[in-house]
Symmetry: C2
Subunit: 190 residues, 2 copies
């Protein structure tokens, strides 16, 4: 998606640890107009999968997941990383490595909102190793739901996430695919 | 706002600890159409305050803050509760009591995105004691920004938050004001 790629080119920064900093428009400060355009684009690309629910993980998946769900006219559920007091005692829980890969993070969904027979579209900010998204897949499958698609704003195609998720046999869409970040240069797969 | 009040009447639940459970449409599962309508209503009510940025706190403030910012056409910043690796070493940080009031929570904003002279509209899901919102006010004021309005989806007017925030002298808008939750009954101030 041209608009997102241009924004990454202009405002994305590669940090020393190989992390792509996009917190001026995606995950600390958010550009709502851009997120709305991304949500509209996801809704267009997944128009045929007949999703009944969008699933994401807190925190940075929430903005694009909400705009996607808005354009599809379906609810969105965000998996929590800590169990709030409002959740029932029995929950759906899985573990996924954190982005830094040092610790494991819990992903928790209330069974009230992820039901048997639901058709789930997963939306998140990044597809890198695919570990967080696989955690969401496990939660949905444990609930008896079916995954019908996976969409992320940005894919780092050199981290293998797409290969990990390929066995699911569902469409995987990324709005900006980065194939290399070597030498401080962001190279897109266009 | 009639639509939100009706939803709380229909799907809100009072838990034993006096907590209002609205996680089927606001803060775990989110109804994006309702959040969009709430964002439009906030944009209407705050049309004259000339806000340049929306500020909220992760996690449950994000959805209404993003839709409000979308309808105002300005960016939104969400304060983090843990400092991500993408943030610079020097940050704006304050402490606010958590909702359970047992522990203190950190609220962290990067000085990159909250600047001197910014006109800040605070949006959050709940106004109860006002402690979280006062934390956001301190962050904005430390940055040299000016608070120009405060909006929350739900206000529990019996918890004193509005009185705490009154000294700021800015408009405070809540889309659903609850004046009592005694005896398992939600009574709105209409």
């Amino acid at each position: 998606m041209k608009e997102l790629i241009e924004r990454i080119q202009k405002h994305g920064k590669i940090l020393r640890n190989g992390i792509l900093k996009v917190d001026s428009f995606i995950n600390h400060q958010v550009d709502p107009v851009l997120m709305d355009a991304c949500g509209r684009e996801f809704a267009r690309r997944f128009a045929d999968v007949k999703a009944t629910k969008v699933l994401t993980a807190e925190i940075s998946g929430i903005a694009p997941a909400v705009t996607t769900a808005l354009h599809l006219g379906i609810p969105v559920v965000y998996a929590r990383k800590t169990k709030p007091v409002t959740m029932p005692d029995a929950v759906l829980l899985t573990l996924a490595p954190s982005h830094t890969k040092v610790v494991m993070t819990e992903l928790i969904v209330s069974p009230e909102y992820l039901a048997d027979g639901e058709r789930v579209l997963i939306i998140d900010d990044f597809l890198a190793s695919g570990a967080t998204i696989m955690g969401l897949v496990r939660l949905a499958q444990t609930a008896g739901s079916q995954i019908v698609g996976i969409g992320t704003l940005i894919e780092k195609s050199f981290e293998g996430g797409r290969e990990l998720l390929a066995s699911l046999g569902v469409p995987i869409e990324a709005l900006a695919v980065i194939k290399s970040m070597d030498d401080g240069q962001i190279i897109f797969d266009e």
